[in-house]
């Protein structure tokens, strides 16, 4: 089943709606005196996510009140599960965007890792052993992106635009353009990692762990602080002696790693390696980051916000079904959400500057 079919399937099985504008909530947050009063408090990141989480909550309530079926646990879990792969990519993407880099290649990385893992398993590698190989592949592709960006002194936007197609092309060639099937689906990898331990899809457990881990990494560790320092002022970072090139390699490797992680989970869930999977995911991951409060201008970022952004996109898509909007309008609504969020973000930044 391709992801489009799956999305349609899930959406119809559920029936939900949206119309979320995280940006507006952040307006509200900025304009509310009580929120402004929190400004000097050092725990910035708590505040940064507040707006987007509020919007996510309002969206869910906005659909759930007229359509209580939407609040059904299974439906909420499947809606969350729909966004899990983009969420994971967005978790890594936050690091790239925070240091003014972009990783457009994640869609290609995702497909290539998926194919590599599926081929290994089909050819007899124990599935749990294929996972580290997939993760290392993702890291290697991220390092490749960073090295090419550095050696050619080009923006990572352009380099990863190229490697997006390059990596997907390798995946397609390795898979001979076909889905890789005949995998040992009774292996514990497929039943456990593709299943619902504790009643919750395994991928969501992984996502939860990644959110906690990377939030701490971004806000509390030296690496995270370097990423934000470089994004805040690349020249000053270089003049301070911060290792810009090494940090770039690490950030893009991290983006590759979370993408490979998504690929491993997708392989476990689908039980097949489809080289055409994940088309357009890169733009959705970037959109999720921006909705979640990570500006393209860098300097700050929020892992929690990025995941909430991805969830908002997913809730909007499935919510349209509840409001009986034709499925063909899904892209339209998604685009609308992104535009509203980005417009509100830039408007906010302008007022913020004026205040200074």
């Amino acid at each position: 089943m391709t992801e489009t079919e799956r999305a349609v399937d899930d959406a119809e099985r559920a029936r939900e709606q949206g119309g979320g504008q995280s940006g507006l909530a952040r307006w509200w947050r900025r304009l509310t005196p009580s929120a402004r009063a929190l400004e000097p408090v050092p725990r910035r990141w708590v505040r940064d996510e507040f707006g987007v989480l509020l919007v996510l909550g309002l969206l869910i309530a906005g659909i759930g009140i007229p359509y209580p079926d939407f609040l059904d646990t299974n439906n909420l879990l499947s809606t969350a599960h729909n966004s899990v792969y983009i969420s994971l990519m967005a978790c890594g993407m936050v690091f790239a965007l925070s240091m003014r880099e972009v990783d457009l290649s994640v869609g290609g990385t995702y497909a290539m890792c998926l194919v590599v893992g599926a081929l290994l398993i089909r050819d007899g590698t124990p599935p749990w052993l294929a996972v580290p190989v997939m993760l290392v592949t993702g890291i290697a592709l991220g390092v490749f992106n960073a090295l090419v960006t550095t050696l050619l002194a080009l923006p990572s936007f352009i380099v990863t635009l190229g490697t997006l197609m390059l990596f997907r092309g390798v995946g397609l060639a390795l898979a001979d353009g076909k889905q890789i099937t005949d995998l040992p689906l009774d292996d514990s990898f497929f039943t456990f990692a593709g299943g619902d331990p504790g009643g919750v899809p395994f991928a969501l457990w992984v996502l939860l762990a990644v959110i906690v881990l990377l939030s701490v990494v971004l806000s509390r560790t030296r690496f995270g602080a370097r990423v934000r320092a470089i994004g805040s002022n690349p020249d000053a970072a270089a003049f301070s002696g911060i290792p810009v090139v090494r940090t770039r390699i690490q950030a893009l490797a991290l983006s590759g790693l979370t993408t490979a992680c998504a690929a491993a989970l997708a392989l476990a869930f689908y039980g097949a390696g489809d080289p055409t999977l994940g088309q357009g995911y890169e733009l959705q991951a970037i959109a999720a980051c921006i909705i979640g409060g990570t500006p393209l201008a860098g300097g700050r970022g929020s892992v929690v916000g990025a995941v909430a952004g991805a969830m908002i996109l997913s809730v909007v898509a499935s919510g349209l079904v509840f409001f009986e909007v034709p499925i063909n309008w899904t892209s339209f609504a998604t685009g609308g959400v992104i535009l509203v969020a980005v417009a509100a973000d830039s408007a906010l930044r302008r007022t913020g500057r004026r205040r200074r």
Binding site: P40, P42, T221, R228, A229, A236, A237, S240, G241, R356
Partner: protein, 491 residues
């Protein structure tokens, strides 16, 4: 107005806010003469140029021009379009048209005689950015001449030019004055004044210190005196006690940097404050760049902090170099971040002190110690953008002090701060030296060098021409040394 006067300005007054930029300045520009305009930074030269060219209105005084006196300005920074062709650059506003399209042959017919007169032999279809800087400058002069001006204002045209191009400019100026054009030549280079100009006017603090004197009547020391005035000179510094037994932290030996430095040799010992001075492009800032690991060296030996030549900014930082840049917002600070994030950027993020994930309270505590020591008004959690300029500069100092640097490189450290902060900065520099750091400082403010330095290396056209120390370390002494024409000026 005499018959050969092109433009006469009298008693010009202009204030910006409360600051008097011009306070009754007069100048008389005659056809067929090169009239030099000199003065220190901030003396009012640019303001006068802008009023004469009509881009700025004066608060008082008169400007009278001869009939049909067109004025063209060639500005300090080139105002050309590097991606357009030479031809397109020559006609930026009203290019000749035929049938609504650019008339290239008409453009070429108009441009050729002017270019020939300037001795500029280029294909008009060349993209401007591919020309050497000197030819770009001539293109800009050509563009000005195509407007057939009676007065040509050249605002510091030679600061970026090699010696040969200056010779060519001299010939060009002679051609122009032979045609009866008046040239107002703004410059810092007094040797050029002596070469090119028939007259010279010196501005000081918005006033005319020397009015249209004929060149034969003045010499360089007199011009310097007129620029600086009778300012009280600082008493000479007493020598510090230096750790002579230890190897010096900064050693440059016969260093060459392509096109910028030639055979530069100097050392800075621990506990010493050494200044570098020079006119724009003289190479003193390139010497700082070498120490900071920002410039590739083509010859000679460099040792910084006992680790040889720093290959990168990061290399230099790890060798113990602290660099306080002149443009602090661009190179020194993350203005949208808090004080503590800025002060830990070097010690923690670059040098790794504190480990992978130190407790934030510990980072903040260390910041608080530094801000207290520097008497910085603002807490660790304040955003840098909300601090005053002086306090922002203290944040830059704080982030380097946190590393206990062995070598401190300062580029114009007190630009744009008030006198109180300036004095504090100088106290900190003194403390750093007393604590055993080697300090290297450049400044556009010569008084600053005389106040804080033990000695000052003077650069002229890429070479160290003089070391000024002791009783000769005065503003006047430095200004004269910076002007000294190089012995091998014919290169």
């Amino acid at each position: 107005m005499a018959h050969d006067d092109i433009l006469v300005a009298e008693e010009l007054v202009k204030s910006y806010g409360g600051v008097r930029a011009l306070d009754g300045a007069s100048i008389r520009l005659r056809g067929g003469e090169v009239h030099a305009l000199v003065g220190e930074n901030g003396a009012g030269k640019s303001t006068l140029v802008r009023i004469l060219s009509g881009t700025l209105g004066a608060d008082g005084g008169t400007v009278r021009a001869a009939k049909d006196a067109r004025i063209a300005v060639v500005s300090q920074e080139l105002s050309l379009f590097p991606d357009l062709t030479v031809r397109e650059n020559l006609f930026p506003q009203h290019p000749p048209l035929r049938l609504g399209l650019l008339d290239r042959s008409a453009m070429d017919r108009a441009a050729r005689p002017v270019l020939a007169e300037l001795g500029l032999d280029v294909d008009l279809r060349t993209e401007l950015g591919e020309l050497p800087l000197a030819d770009q400058q001539l293109t800009e002069i050509a563009r000005a001449l195509l407007r057939r001006p009676k007065l040509l204002i050249l605002d510091e045209p030679t600061s970026a030019l090699p010696a040969a191009a200056v010779d060519r400019l001299e010939r060009v100026l002679r051609t122009l004055t032979d045609r009866g054009i008046a040239v107002l030549y703004v410059t810092h280079f007094l040797d050029e004044v002596m070469r090119f100009a028939q007259r010279v006017t010196v501005l000081r603090d918005g006033l005319v210190a020397l009015a249209g004197a004929e060149r034969a009547e003045v010499d360089v020391p007199e011009l310097v005196s007129a620029m600086l005035g009778g300012r009280p000179e600082q008493p000479p510094r007493r020598a510090r006690s230096l750790a002579a037994d230890r190897p010096p932290p900064v050693v440059l030996s016969q260093v060459d940097v392509d096109g910028r430095l030639t055979d530069v040799t100097f050392t800075v010992r621990a506990g010493e404050v050494v200044g570098v001075a020079g006119l724009q492009g003289a190479g003193h800032l390139d010497a700082l760049a070498v120490v900071c690991g920002r410039t590739a060296v083509s010859g000679g030996r460099v040792d910084v902090g006992g680790r040889g030549l720093p290959r990168s900014l990061r290399d230099a930082v790890r060798a113990g170099v602290a660099f306080v840049p002149s443009d602090r917002k661009r190179y020194g600070l993350m203005v949208d971040r808090t004080v503590w994030e800025n002060t830990t950027a070097v010690s923690w993020l670059a040098l790794g002190r504190g480990g992978i994930a130190p407790a934030r309270s510990e980072l903040v505590r260390r910041t608080a110690e530094l801000t207290e020591r520097l008497r910085l008004r603002g807490g660790p959690y304040d955003l840098v953008v909300r601090l005053s300029g002086g306090n922002q500069q203290k944040v830059v100092f704080a982030k380097w002090l946190a590393t206990e640097p062995k070598i401190v490189v300062l580029d114009d450290p007190t630009r744009g701060v008030d006198v109180g902060v300036r004095a504090e900065m100088h106290r900190i520099v003194g403390e750093l030296a007393a604590g055993g750091a080697a300090v290297l400082i450049a400044s556009t403010d010569l008084a600053e060098l005389t106040e804080v330095c033990d000695r000052v290396l003077v650069f002229v056209r890429g070479r160290v021409t003089e070391e000024v120390r002791g009783e000769r370390l005065t503003e006047h002494g430095l200004a004269v040394a910076m002007q000294r024409p190089e012995v091998t000026a014919s290169d």
